[in-house]
Amino acid sequence: MSVRYALLLFAGVAAAHPAAAQMGAPTASPPPAGLGEGESAGYPSGRYDELNQLPDWGGIWFLAFDMPAPNSAPPPEPKLKGEYLERYEAWRKEVAANNGVAKRERSNCSAPGMPIFMQIPQYPFEYLFTPGRVTINQEAWMQTRTIWTDGRKHPEDPSPTYNGHSIGHWEGGALVVDTIGISDDLELGMGMGHSDQLRVVERIRLSESDPDKLLAEITLTDPEALAEPFTLNVSYRRDRNGTLIEFQCSENDRNPVNEDGETEYL
């Protein structure tokens, strides 16, 4: 089937749908929660000067591995509770019985979502500043994360997504971000589930001693899954002239997950 024919067929199927009356008509979404018309990031014109007040986060950033001291204690883990703890313990037993190999329920071409989004090794990410929003492009899985800084509130009932709904503001040189609406199909860390009440608060700033180092303090709260808030600190190192590389996972998926949840190697 030619592409042109397929497109026509698609248009034909769509036209048979009642919503077809709106096809091609301009759409008009309402202003985001807490803002009036004309106040959102959708109106950047005339506000680009404000960006000069923001810190210099240019270039791309790689997750940094800070060397733990010899014989230091393992890094702390979130303290799960209730059914989330039971499920994690069962998962650990299963992994131990399976030579340390964890089963996967999802494709390796599927992104982990927040908060692991901010802790992905190997693949760099970048920050883009435009009026009213900060955009993070993460090379891995070619993800985009938007942090709204236009003063909007969270929607009352956000649709669950991988990266959730993020609003942020600047406190001096620190970007403070509040994220909710993260899908409870995802994990806090390997084998650790969370509820739809997960909230992630990030405080991201440049290191005072090293301008090519970015620091993030990430605090997780979840009244259903976590016994207490969990804070982790991660850092990133800068490659000033680096650029992101395409990530077309489905076209290079040499590690498919089979029906037993095992990652294969082609």
Binding site: I60, F62, L63, F65, M67, P68, P74, P75, E77, P78, N99, G100, V101, A102, R104, N108, C109, P112, P115, I116, Q119, I120, P121, Q122, Y123, P124, E139, A140, L188, G189, M190, G191, M192, L232, V234, D239, G242, L244, I245, E246, F247, Q248, C249, N252, R254, N255, T263, Y265, L266
Partner: protein, 125 residues
């Protein structure tokens, strides 16, 4: 040093569940073991999520077996001096890899010595 770093990274992966997974877990490889492969490059793919190297290793009797070697991401390799053109089909190489635990002809890239003697990654002496 690089080897120790890798081991440390592997340890870190086990200890820090949140930061554990890159594109997939390393558990399928025996990171404590290194296999040396002498052969010719059949294919070098410079793309995410991993760069890949396929190498034909000659066996006695004229036949050869093909190994598929998984590398890290191109952007990570670039930090170590790699380019898309660092290897091409036909190049004679000596490869050092952490083999798959299941015995299949595959492994995680550790280092390579080119015919010129130049090396990339961790190469055993």
């Amino acid at each position: 040093m690089k080897k120790n770093l890798l081991k440390l990274a592997a340890g870190f992966l086990l200890l820090a569940p949140a930061a554990s997974m890159a594109h997939h877990s390393f558990a399928m490889f025996d990171m404590q073991k290194t296999v040396t492969l002498k052969g010719a490059v059949a294919k070098f793919k410079w793309q995410n999520p991993h760069a890949w190297l396929e190498v034909d290793v000659p066996l006695t009797g004229g036949k050869s077996e093909r190994w598929a070697i998984e590398m890290t991401s191109p952007n990570n390799l670039a930090l170590e001096g790699w380019k898309r053109t660092s290897l091409k089909a036909g190049d004679k190489v000596t490869l050092y890899v952490h083999p798959l635990r299941n015995g299949a002809k595959g492994g995680s890239f550790q280092g390579v010595r080119l015919a010129t003697g130049a090396t990339l990654g961790q190469v055993d002496q």
